[in-house]
């Protein structure tokens, strides 16, 4: 996860904390995915995060000092998908039913 733009990682951690997703937060803090179970947990988090970001934009919520915009969550989602694939868990992406 060292290649991920630090403000993008902060954005992901912000949503993991706000959504009280301790497993996603732990993975993001560790910067590594241990197994397929964690890869799937991260994908579930990304889907919930995007839905929340869409809601935040509609509600005019501020996120890390900026008016929420769903395109931020889309960018974070795609970056993490690439990270999951790079970590060797591409199969989890194919099984992502919310996608």
């Amino acid at each position: 996860m060292k290649d991920i733009h630090p403000p993008l990682l902060n954005y992901l951690k912000h949503y993991a904390a706000r959504l009280k997703d301790s497993l996603a937060l732990r993975i993001l803090e560790a910067g590594a995915i241990a197994d397929e179970k964690e890869a799937k947990a991260l994908l579930r988090f990304l889907n919930v995060m995007l839905d929340q970001a869409v809601k935040d934009q509609k509600d005019g919520v501020k996120v890390l000092g900026e008016a929420a915009h769903a395109s931020d969550a889309e960018k974070a989602y795609l970056a993490m998908e690439d990270f999951i694939a790079q970590a060797g868990f591409e199969d989890a992406l194919d099984e992502d039913e919310d996608r």
Binding site: H5, P7, D51, E74, D82
Partner: protein, 140 residues
């Protein structure tokens, strides 16, 4: 803007090697709410200066990534406008485009500049990018 199909982008991406940016039909091609986003660019602590970094404004460079992004956008917008440029376009000073991940490129700041300059340069780029067309999205 003329309506097109997602498949129409195949030639632009695979043959012409363009950098593609789909945005909500109400959105600007390169700016959000008239400014830049923290998830894209690294700013100084006072927020007045854009600093060189590995981040940047996202563009897609493959059909797989393009379709993946459209699926995400379909969850909250009904239409997207598709903008593009290729390597023949002169980028504004201090900016560079880098193919940094499979199917993805980042328009990066390569030299420190005032945030107001970055916004102006992105506005200029947005004006000069090609408008390819508008795509209707569905949730299925």
């Amino acid at each position: 803007m003329e309506y097109i199909l997602a498949e129409d982008l195949k030639r632009h991406l695979e043959v012409l090697k363009k950098y593609i940016r789909p945005v909500g039909s109400a959105d600007h091609p390169t700016l959000v709410n008239g400014s830049v986003r923290q998830v894209d660019f690294l700013l100084s602590p006072d927020g007045k200066t854009a600093l060189p970094s590995a981040g940047g404004l996202s563009f897609v460079t493959s059909m797989k990534k393009f379709k993946g992004l459209l699926k995400l956008k379909a969850r909250h917008v009904g239409e997207v406008d598709v903008y593009a440029f290729d390597d023949a376009l002169a980028l504004p000073p201090g900016l560079e485009i880098v193919r940094d991940r499979p199917g993805h490129a980042s328009l990066r700041v390569k030299e420190k500049m005032a945030l107001t300059d970055l916004i102006g340069r992105l506005e200029d780029l947005g004006r000069r990018m090609e408008r390819i067309g508008r795509i209707r999205l569905t949730n299925d």
